[in-house]
């Protein structure tokens, strides 16, 4: 495995993370237990629709989980990374680093 990773790290890059917005969502969720929709929107600086579609993609890959709650009467939806998501993101980071090393 190690040898393979050194030779062709591009195989270890995760297609799901092939988007700056998804990378942003995952990065934020790696260092925070949970973040709600509006805070994520503000952090990543994207439109509602755009954020929602990327969240959906990550959710379908089981990389993030959604908790629906209420603050008073308003819905408050928060997101957090799943164990699988954390693992996938970490290997993606490792692959990125490995590729840069190999190129440099």
């Amino acid at each position: 495995m190690k040898v393979k990773l050194m030779k062709n790290p591009i195989e270890n890059l995760n297609k799901v993370f092939d988007s700056r917005i998804r990378l942003g969502i995952m990065s934020a969720l790696m260092v925070n237990t949970s973040i709600n929709f509006n805070d994520l929107k503000e952090l990543i600086n994207v439109t509602d629709g755009n954020l929602a579609s990327h969240i959906k993609a990550l959710e379908e890959s089981n990389y993030i989980k959604v908790q629906k709650g209420f603050i008073g009467r308003k819905t408050n939806t928060t997101y957090s990374a799943t164990k699988a998501g954390e693992k996938a993101f970490k290997s993606h980071l490792d692959a990125l680093e490995q590729m840069i090393k190999n190129m440099g």
């Binding site: 990378l23 990065s27 925070n32 952090l43 980071l93 680093e97 590729m99 840069i100 190129m103």
Partner: protein, 215 residues
Amino acid sequence: MDDSKKLSRDLRDIKQMMERSSRFISLSGLSGISAGICALIGVFFARDAIEKNRSAVSDLGKSFSDTDTILHGDFFNSTLIRIAALTFLGALASAFLFTYRRSQRTNTPIWGYTAKRLLINVAIPIVAGGIFLLALINNKVFGFVAPGCLIFYGLGILNASNYTLSETRYLAYGEILLGVINLFFPVQGLYFWAAGFGVLHILYGIFMWWKYERN
């Protein structure tokens, strides 16, 4: 190589997002410097007021009933409290101004998720400390008010250091240490305040400005 550039940028973006989303990073070193200067100006006027009222200050408890002193009547209306309030407002306003300017420059919202979390965490030890100090004043234990301010302020910053630039914890250690030493020299409170709220803030501010904002 184009690919390598893209990858490096990806990694940098990830690192930046992790920082931005977990810490309030707009805190400016200039805020520390300006708050420190306000503190020193406040101390200068307070010292003057105290020097002119030596007898009153030497026995604060008795002074409240003495019509001739600066502390007569309502404690919260006395000259010293007025100086303190002005100093605090000046420090707060100028600190806010520089941090606001920095947030504009780094293009991060000043009032966001990280700012809220920072404020809550700084507020818990400080509000508890404030109530404790009011109780001290209420019981006329004035000597421990100054060290108490320094210690609780230090604890507040220490708690906040997890939610903003982590170097703030050195400022916190300094404030707590000064407060603890001050416990053994309760009459010198004003000078410990000058050191803690003035000099330490200025040193910390210069360090942070040098490290993050010089360019």
